[in-house]
Subunit: 119 residues, 2 copies
DNA sequence: ACAGATATGTCGTGATACGATATATCTTGC
DNA sequence: GCAAGATATATCGTATCACGACATATCTGT
């Protein structure tokens, strides 16, 4: 996937969070793993996206301090994101829109269904 | 469809032109009809898109003068667009990418397949 | 001590969907 | 005639957003 289609990233991130709350970096890894490397969500894409989701109320965020060996200084910071009920509805809408989009595109694609993988 | 996803418009326009060459305004109407009004391609979207397609060599364009009752003055101008062989390949690529995208998203969607249409 | 992984973020750029706007021609109804 | 609306093409400004590059700090393995 060269450039993900609009809303795909949001759907994918919401779907990951629907399984369990995650912190940003873990989301990156989860998306990469589950998409078999086809979707890469880099920091410059992920964090603005999460900020949008939080601002819209689709996710709630909570800071966490990871315990470390060292007793001094602040530990590594992690920001955990959890899907809100509004976010669940949003995810359902995305899925619904996706299905509608697929069936609609089928109208245009069907006559050219002989499309072969380019060699 | 609030905001068409990236590449959808291009796929749809190429698919329309794959059936037969069309001029701009006719493409707008064809897309509207075939999508049952779900995709609207206004002038400000269509013409830049067609210009991109022509520039990339996916379509070839030819001006046509429509015969009118009046013998004086220039008739109405129409610009006909036809799919090139490069455009055919492009369309096949779009379809292929679409199918790949759908199967990949299924990985994320499947666990939430209970998504109900929002009431 | 150093490299590399982990972890979160900002900044600038390029692409592009879309409303608004402009211009001109053709058709239909009165 | 002539006005309204459909036909037909095109540009401009704005808002959104994916992405590479960069910045900063912590933790782990050697």
């Amino acid at each position: 996937m060269s450039r993900p289609q609009r809303d795909d990233l949001e759907l994918v991130v919401l779907a990951v969070l629907a399984d369990s709350a995650q912190y940003g970096y873990a989301i990156t890894k989860a998306v990469d793993a589950r998409s078999d490397g086809r979707i890469r969500v880099g920091p410059s894409v992920l964090y603005p996206l999460l900020a949008r989701l939080e601002k819209s109320g689709y996710v709630t965020a909570r800071w966490d301090e990871v315990s470390s060996d060292r007793t001094e200084g602040p530990g590594r910071r992690r920001k955990w994101y959890a899907l809100s009920s509004k976010g669940e509805r949003r995810l359902a809408q995305h899925i619904e829109a996706h299905r509608a989009r697929v069936s609609m595109l089928e109208t245009f694609i069907a006559p050219h269904a002989d499309a072969e993988p380019t060699p």
